[in-house]
């Protein structure tokens, strides 16, 4: 029962949705673009690679194309600043609700170790897919839908469609 009460402390999802929509609207109104997340991972990776292996970066086709179309420091980008803010905002919300705690969240049917392995695997798929799809759930799907982009709708349908299609086969991870 205690756990049930805890989950009730979350916002009503429709209220949360309206608030998220207003945050997205603020991004569109001020920056002329939607929210995103995977682009910030790419910026950090690019910066790290440049520092560690500059000659490799110079000779890799993807980085060459990236730098030809993006000038300046990849860390000084809208998405990097937005994602730094996201971590602060998430922390503040978690602190206010008493949800700050180091833990590996997983179904009682699997071990923490198994959860971690599948989390890494899921991250690899998501990282690769977000590059192919030119954005993730926030950038391609949600923001794309809000501005009624065809690509946004297609990507959204395939993210959720594939997840639904595969859900049965990995149900032990979750239920």
């Amino acid at each position: 029962m205690m756990n049930l009460d805890k989950s009730k402390k979350y916002w009503n999802p429709y209220f949360g949705g309206v608030m998220l929509g207003l945050v997205l609207l603020a991004a569109i109104y001020t920056a002329g673009r939607g929210l995103g997340a995977s682009g910030a991972v790419k910026s950090v990776l690019l910066t790290g690679m440049e520092a560690v292996a500059p000659s490799h970066v110079e000779n890799t086709p993807f980085y060459k194309e990236y730098f030809a179309s993006h000038s300046g420091n990849p860390m000084k980008s809208w998405l990097v600043f937005e994602m730094l803010g996201l971590v602060v905002g998430g922390f503040v919300s978690g602190a206010m609700a008493g949800r700050l705690k180091f833990k590996v969240e997983h179904s009682p049917k699997i071990t923490s170790r198994k959860r971690i392995i599948f989390a890494v695997l899921g991250g690899i798929f998501f990282g690769l897919g977000s590059q192919l799809g030119r954005g993730c759930t926030s950038g391609a799907a949600l923001s794309g839908m809000a501005v009624l982009s065809l690509g946004g709708f297609i990507t959204m349908i395939f993210i959720f469609g594939t997840a639904f299609a595969l859900a049965y086969f990995v149900r032990k991870l979750w239920i």
Binding site: W11, R115, G144, A146
Partner: protein, 196 residues
């Protein structure tokens, strides 16, 4: 007239400060909606918790309607808003690969950073995976390049592709969203689970 940065009402640096502030709002809303829990996110795909569906579609239609109202009031120039280009095959394949990542990992990139901010270590593992995944793409780019750039369609609107007006499509989307909300509520009653 917005977008403020495009019309140079605010500077590029102010825009970055606002990005940080907007990010705080983004993270605050995600966490308060329960998106920092992978089991809550995955619940969407088993019907026991459809928070993702409700928040996602409510947000999309709120921002869509807001954008249309701002445009009607003359506050926002829709013609200069960034519309992501559509490359048909990579949009499909990328979406499918992300879907697999979602059900295996229980997060998407934004929600993983949100979960990490409150101490979820599985989110940290997912983010490690994200870096590996992006690295694999950049290193193996020549392998993906063909499909990555195939079937370029420009930056089309979904309503044009469907041959209807913006307003009619928006109305249909709102009705469809309410249909899905009803389905979500029904699903949560049919597949209840309260142990997490």
């Amino acid at each position: 007239m917005g977008p403020l940065t495009v019309y140079e009402i605010i500077s590029a640096n102010t825009n970055l400060v606002l990005a940080f502030v907007i990010g705080i709002g983004f993270g605050f809303v995600l966490e308060n909606s329960g998106f920092s829990s992978s089991r809550k996110l995955a619940g969407m795909f088993y019907g026991y918790d459809t928070t993702v569906l409700k928040v996602f579609f409510t947000a999309a239609i709120t921002a869509m309607v807001g954008t249309l109202i701002f445009a009607l009031l003359g506050w926002l120039d829709l013609s200069v808003i960034y519309i992501n280009p559509t490359y048909l095959w990579s949009a499909i394949l990328g979406g499918a690969v992300m879907g697999a990542g979602f059900i295996l990992g229980g997060f998407c990139p934004g929600t993983a950073f949100c979960a990490l901010s409150i101490g979820k270590l599985d989110a940290l593992a997912f983010i490690g995976g994200l870096f590996i995944g992006v690295f694999l793409f950049t290193e193996a780019y020549p392998v993906f390049e063909g499909i990555y750039k195939a079937e370029f369609m420009g930056a089309p609107f979904v309503y044009d592709a469907l041959g209807m007006s913006r307003g009619v499509f928006a109305a249909i989307l709102i009705i469809a969203a309410f249909g899905m909300f009803w389905l979500g509520e029904w699903s949560e009653r049919k597949f209840p689970r309260d142990e997490y």
